[in-house]
Amino acid sequence: MSVHAFKPYPARVMDGQDKFHGNQVLYVGWVDHLMFCAPLAFALAPDFPFGDLIKNVLPGAYSYHPDFAQIDWSAVQWYKSGVPFTPRLEESLVQNGLGHKDLITFVSPGLTGIKGTCS
């Protein structure tokens, strides 16, 4: 569908990748850990190595949670918009098929938040 406007109404896209100073937006959600109330947003270079996300980015965001230190990263299951996906850690976001405003979520097996309540 499209708008019914009084005059031509061209789409004015506010969040095209060209506006992010060379970065792209990546959303990350940690499943069963709702202490972090919503998935997080990161602006990262397209050639940012996926492994650095785990090593250097996620700890700053999630390490407050007592489960975070317990994560066995080799067992973590990744999803891209809900579809299972296996990232190659040494490759970049783009090489892993992650584009602007893509969403990835991860499950850390055995860890279900504060008192097992997915908090």
Binding site: M14, G29, M35, C37, P39, A41, G99, L103
Partner: protein
């Protein structure tokens, strides 16, 4: 003396003379040019004279009654100021509801003022035009009485000092702002269905009555007075909203699907905005009136039920989002408060964890959900705070493209999983909190791709002051964003415990009740 008694016309007849017939079919300029926006939305109106004025208020009566309301209201505000009435509230946490109100709601009243002026110019019928113009004027009243009432609080408490500036910038205030921007940028008929009907008629009771009853329960008589005084105009507005719907539907059967689509859309948009009210009721009032869930049941399920039963004769059905809302009502306030607790560093009001007694109240009001899903999280946060490790989420959240709320809503029926919905438009991905927000986007993508999403705007570098230097070695983006918001770090934000508000209120109350002296924070 009275030689000849002329028969006085009745109210309806008198109003008819006073208003109807003022307009005319223009001929030096075509009606299409004089009322250019009457048709593009696809609504068909055949006879504007079929409009029934629900209230018949001529300007002289309007001035008379409104002035009387204003005189009473300002007398109470003056007395409140003279008596340091702010010290009578239950405790200083209550004042945070006023911050939320002034930064989040009052600017919308102003938008309504301008929006109704626009519609009050553009509808080709005199009756609705006059009703809209009066509403425009009333809405100006509301924003100004709110500012004038809360003005005194602003002198003593933090967080509300720059409400206009903040409304156009803060991440959570883009939720109410985009709601109203959405309505005023729509055509005149959609605006009326959005604001006049869906908001004023269906949802306003859920906004004002809880806020004002909350104020009454918590000893804030000036706010009660402005609230209830504003509500007295609201009865007129609600009736206008209902009349608009009836009128449009009676004019042409082809209008039904368009109106139904708008009712579906705006009920949902409105309920998403009311998320802020839900958490206010359940978490921010030191003395609670009723739970959000109870308010929803009284004001939506009972009254809304009667309304939609009434509208069934036109073929209107209950908005389909109601099913989702019913599933969310046990979770909404807890999840919302958790968001603000997460991002309490970037909010212009204080947040806190409920104490043990308050948690018990929440358990009793939400027996199926609070203890099971939320209490453990909240108790953990409380313990951590006691250890000096208060939780602040320092990473920006993902937002819904339509309602702009952080994507905290869980899957209806599964409170352990975040709900995700996606659309593609013109080569880009868009994310939504719900199927309803996605549907709204998909219907008018050209419109919603324009959203000024606060998180993306920060990433794009648009939320820094002109003197900020992102290339500097010690550049702190989050601090710079707060500076752009005009949030005074450590005063307007962070936890209530340890805040200036808390210290000052206790000090000033102490000065009133004991021979205490001291310096304000």
């Amino acid at each position: 003396m009275d030689t000849q008694v002329k028969k006085k016309p009745g109210l309806k007849e008198k109003y008819r003379h006073m208003t109807r017939g003022l307009d005319w079919q223009t001929s030096y300029q075509s009606m299409d040019k004089v009322f250019p926006f009457a048709e593009f939305e696809g609504i068909k109106i055949h006879d504007w004279d079929k409009w029934e004025d629900p209230f018949r208020l001529t300007m002289d009566a309007y001035w008379k009654y409104q002035a009387e309301k204003e005189r009473k209201l300002y007398a109470i505000i003056d007395a409140f100021v003279q008596n340091n009435g702010h010290l009578k509230v239950t405790d200083a946490r209550y004042i945070n509801t006023l911050k939320l109100f002034l930064t989040g709601v009052s600017p919308l009243e102003y938008m309504a003022h301008r929006g109704f002026a626009h519609v009050g110019r553009q509808f080709p019928g005199v009756g609705p035009r006059v009703a809209c113009q009066m509403q425009s004027l009333d809405e100006l009243r509301h924003v100004q009485t709110q500012i004038h009432t809360i003005s005194n609080y602003n002198k003593y408490y933090n967080g509300m000092h720059d409400f206009r500036h903040m409304h156009d910038r803060l991440w959570y205030l883009s939720v109410p702002k985009s709601f109203f921007d959405d309505a005023v940028t729509a055509g005149p008929f959609e605006f009326m269905v959005a604001i006049g009907f869906s908001f004023e008629y269906v949802l306003t009771n859920l906004l004002f009555v809880p806020f004002m009853s909350g104020a009454a329960f918590n000893g804030d008589m000036s706010t009660v007075t402005f609230g209830f005084s504003a509500q007295s105009d609201e009865a007129r507005h609600m009736t206008l909203g209902l009349e608009v719907i009836k009128f449009i539907l009676e004019q042409d059967p082809a209008n039904l699907p368009i109106v139904q689509k708008w009712i579906d859309k705006w009920t949902w948009r409105g309920v998403r905005v009311l998320t802020l009210v839900a958490m206010m009721m359940d978490y921010m009032l030191p003395k609670r009136v009723m739970s959000w869930k109870e308010a929803w049941e009284i004001y939506f399920e009972q009254n809304g039920g009667a309304l939609f039963k009434d509208l069934a004769r036109y073929g209107i059905t209950m908005p389909k989002c109601i099913e989702t809302i019913n599933k969310e009502k046990d979770h909404l306030s807890h999840q919302a408060w958790a968001v603000f607790y997460n991002y309490g560093g970037a909010a212009a009001f204080h947040t806190w964890m409920p104490d043990a007694e308050e948690m018990d109240w929440l358990s009793s009001k939400y027996p199926d959900t609070f203890d099971k899903y939320y209490r453990p999280r909240f108790e953990y946060w409380r313990e951590q705070e006691a250890k000096g490790n208060r939780f602040y989420n320092m990473t920006l959240p993902m937002l819904c493209q339509t309602c702009q709320i952080p994507m905290f809503f869980t899957v209806p029926g599964d409170p352990s999983k975040i709900a995700y919905h996606e659309s593609h438009y013109s080569g880009d991905k868009y994310h939504f909190c719900s199927e309803h927000c996605k549907e709204i986007f998909d219907d008018e993508p050209e419109k919603y791709v324009q959203a000024w999403l606060p998180v993306h705007q920060i990433f794009q570098g648009n939320c820094f002051k002109p003197d900020a230097d992102p290339t500097a070695a010690d550049f702190n983006p989050l601090a710079e964003v707060l500076r752009y918001y005009n949030i005074n770090f450590g005063h307007d934000n962070l936890d209530f415990n340890g805040s200036d508000d808390q210290k000052n209120f206790d000090l000033w109350r102490g000065m009133a009740t004991q021979n205490q002296t001291g310096e304000s924070a």
